[in-house]
Subunit: 232 residues, 2 copies
DNA sequence: ACAAGTCATTTATCTGATATATTCAGTCGG
DNA sequence: CCGACTGAATATATCAGATAAATGACTTGT
């Protein structure tokens, strides 16, 4: 049905989605024996899938009490799997707004750090991302892929491993933002803004880099606010 | 030796620490059979511990190829376990700086969101945290615990689940910062700054809340910079 | 030299038994 | 009537051993 790399990953995926979508919000989570029978797999596979979900903060297991779903606040939202499950089943303008409320905190700060301490090699990757965006505007590259490459390069150039952790989230946010930013029109318009970010980082101007990135994401947030208002 | 809740969690902890400290940077990671023999546990326990580490992005396993350590960039640094292993064995002023470089991005933005959209109940928690800090200054409460309570309340009041994810990291950063901020003297001095954050949030002044929180953390970053310079 | 097939190694999966922890109900003593 | 203790029930935890599947290395035939 939903086969992953193997039975364990397939079950992990099915259970993760089912939990995130809320199938067990009211019902009690099945015991490992019940799960094994229900999905037609052995207890080993069941136990390993459950253990992975506990490692992601989604489940807990205790003798006699059984396996229970953790409150959503315990879930590790920055885990790529959890993020994917969240999007596949619970996508909403509100979730997209939450994404970008985080982006507006992280990315300007990352741009500032990149301007201050970015290694030449990583800054060159930002420049390469911008070049791809220019090519894309002329029809020679994928606009979305180029945009993502630019933003991820900034995160890496921050020289702070914690900022690099947001690459998944930012890539996801950019991919899903497409549905709200009226496609590629507004995208082409943002070329000068991206250029401003790049030149500020290359010049080592942290404040300018921060401001340029902030206005870039502010525009996205405004468009989401409009979309949320329309939906309401 | 290092017993956790049970054998699986004990092995998870030992392996996690060993990997994070770099014991397998050069050496190849043992096979599941070798691990089981080495730690004197069954293959089930070994496999479940390994599966949890793969869920945290630290390991991958493939038939015939064996189990291998992932590059550090793949590790889920916001996982509480990973964070703990990182600190227990690899603590450094640089790591503390990385923590606070993230805090200066997150917490001012969280304060701004709290000012704009904070629910009265969660804002009351911030006020309660501040009250605890005042009590602590008079010797009636734990200064560190009160400080942590204040900052975590701001994160929760942001009404954005992604910001709430940083509670572990901020609590950890505050606990470890003590070693560098000359104990409680500088702490008492920051009371007015915390008050400024609180009143700005209560007044709904997002920009003031952001600025007040930013100066608060900037002070910490400055002290860390001094410590790093001294160490060099 | 090259392509197909064989082999060895490691994880993946299944099965069934036993151990251990925890809750719940009941019992006994005060 | 209440509190502590006791035992049964039930879930996860652990062990052991066998078989399957995947994959990289090797071998062999042309």
């Amino acid at each position: 049905m939903s086969g992953g790399r193997n039975l364990t990953y397939g079950l992990l995926d099915q259970l993760g989605r089912a939990i995130v979508v809320g199938r067990y919000d009211a019902a009690v989570f099945p015991t490992e024996a019940a799960l094994a029978k229900q999905y037609g797999v052995s207890r080993s596979v069941t136990r390993e899938a459950v253990k992975m979900l506990t490692a992601k903060g989604i489940l807990t297991a205790r003798p006699r009490k059984g396996t229970t779903v953790q409150p959503a606040g315990q879930w590790n939202l920055f885990d790529p799997d959890v993020l994917r499950w969240l999007l596949e089943r619970k996508f909403s303008p509100e979730l997209l707004r939450h994404f970008n409320e985080l982006r507006i905190a992280i990315e300007p700060a990352a741009a500032a750090l990149a301007a201050r301490a970015g290694a030449p090699k990583t800054v060159a990757e930002i420049a390469a991302g911008y070049t791809r965006m220019v090519d894309a505007a002329a029809g020679h590259d994928e606009p979305l892929a180029a945009d993502i490459a630019f933003h991820l390069a900034v995160l890496r150039a921050s020289a702070n491993p914690f900022y690099a952790q947001f690459q998944d989230l930012v890539a996801t946010a950019l991919r899903t933002s497409i549905r709200f930013t009226s496609g590629l029109d507004g995208h082409a318009a943002s070329l000068p803004q991206h250029r401003a970010v790049l030149t500020a980082i290359q010049a080592g101007d942290a404040d300018a880099a921060r401001r340029a990135m902030a206005t870039l994401i502010d525009d996205v947030l405004e468009k989401i606010a409009v979309a949320e208002a329309v939906a309401a």
